[in-house]
Point group: C2
Chain length 242, copies 2
């Protein structure tokens, strides 16, 4: 059995080197990408969707031109072990999925796929042997047409520099970047690059605020922490050196 341009064993080595270990989902995923490509035919510029975050995106990245960083691969996390390759412009394509009925003919694959036993109790050697034996026999496929919003590339518009963290971000995200709006995954706001501006913030009485720049948000809301006090009419926060 070949998987894309690789022999089965070459593919296993490639998986180990890229994905870190020979995961069952990576082998089945390779057979799935291969099947989708055969049904799609050659010469077509295609994008890819993975319906799961697990393994399958890596099989797509190894065996097709579609990667997460070049934008040709998208993950629509529906939790199903399925992938779709589709014409980048017309949206017509092929969806391949692991068939929960067919998988019953291969008990160790069913055990793994449906999580019928905890991982340490699964027989990994038997699982790999059954995956190799099963090949595409546990798969099914169908023609699909993508919804229009999945076709073409969105223009992400201009960039601007955030007045808080001083980093560049898409201007369409608002007057400060999404990290400074509270979406950063870091514990300490200062570690999210906000140290440049915070010391220059000061609260002044309303009559002294005239003509100064205002922060976009005068409610003292701290995203994820506090909805802030009711707006106080006698005090506005200004940024001295914006």
């Amino acid at each position: 059995m070949n998987i894309g341009p690789y022999s089965f064993d070459e593919y296993l080595q490639t998986v180990k080197s890229f994905h870190g270990h020979i995961a069952p989902g990576m082998i089945i995923g390779g057979v799935m990408v291969d099947l989708a490509q055969r049904h799609l035919g050659s010469g077509l510029l295609y994008d890819a969707v993975s319906e799961t975050r697990n393994c399958l995106p890596d099989a797509i990245q190894l065996l097709s031109p579609c990667t997460i960083g070049n934008g040709w691969l998208k993950i629509v996390n529906l939790g199903r072990f399925a992938l779709t390759l589709y014409d980048k412009y017309q949206g017509e394509g092929v969806r391949v999925f692991l068939d929960s009925a067919k998988v019953k003919d291969f008990p160790e694959i069913a055990t793994w796929f449906l999580k019928l036993k905890p991982k340490p109790q699964q027989d990994k050697d038997l699982l790999l042997a059954q995956i190799r034996e099963a090949g595409a026999h546990i798969l099914n496929w169908q023609h699909i047409t993508m919804k229009p919003q999945f076709l073409g590339r969105k223009d992400r518009g201009g960039m601007t520099v955030c007045p808080l963290c001083r980093e560049a971000y898409p201007a369409q995200d608002g007057s400060i970047c999404r990290a400074c709006q509270g979406e950063a995954p870091y514990q300490d706001p200062e570690s999210a690059g906000m140290q440049t501006c915070v010391p220059s913030l000061s609260a002044v009485p309303l009559e002294e605020a005239l003509g100064h720049h205002l922060l976009h948000d005068m409610t003292q809301i701290i995203p994820g922490e506090s909805k802030g006090p009711v707006f106080k009419k006698d005090q506005l926060i200004t940024v001295g050196d914006l």
Copy 2:
């Protein structure tokens, strides 16, 4: 200049083969991963975050053990050209970002990064030369600590088979899978794998429904299309063969 285990030119070839073309963001991204790894030190098991969907995730996937499919790389799309590598268990790590102040010393990089000119008017050769010359001089870095929800792996719980599309999905998603809840990216519901069950649906009067299985949702709501009629007391929809 080396980038990870590669010479500069070897890295360019690897980028071309994986990412499809030698994108400026992939070269700068490679230098960024390299810088983060040097500051993180060796022997640490780390996860990665990319703050953008563009290019950077691919540089991380090429130069580190972290991929989107093995779950070690996450994209938190803040629109900033920044990445973080952090201790998988403790959450402490290093964030590297393209510095919008330092980039001004390299006008063609600034033009590309801040989109000061449309792409066809940018000088790609000059841009690549400046990127090679700049190396890590356009970067900045800081220590960060991740929020607790980014540490460890979530247990995704058991799998079950969707009564509508007959595909396996995480049981915690509800009584039918997320695709059948209306999240599928495909135009035609039948092409999302729903054809198996739909013919067996039938509406019956309330008195005949006793003892039958009910669909989870009796409101006739069609996700994304209609909020459905007000619940009718004299009619329930049952699935004959569940």
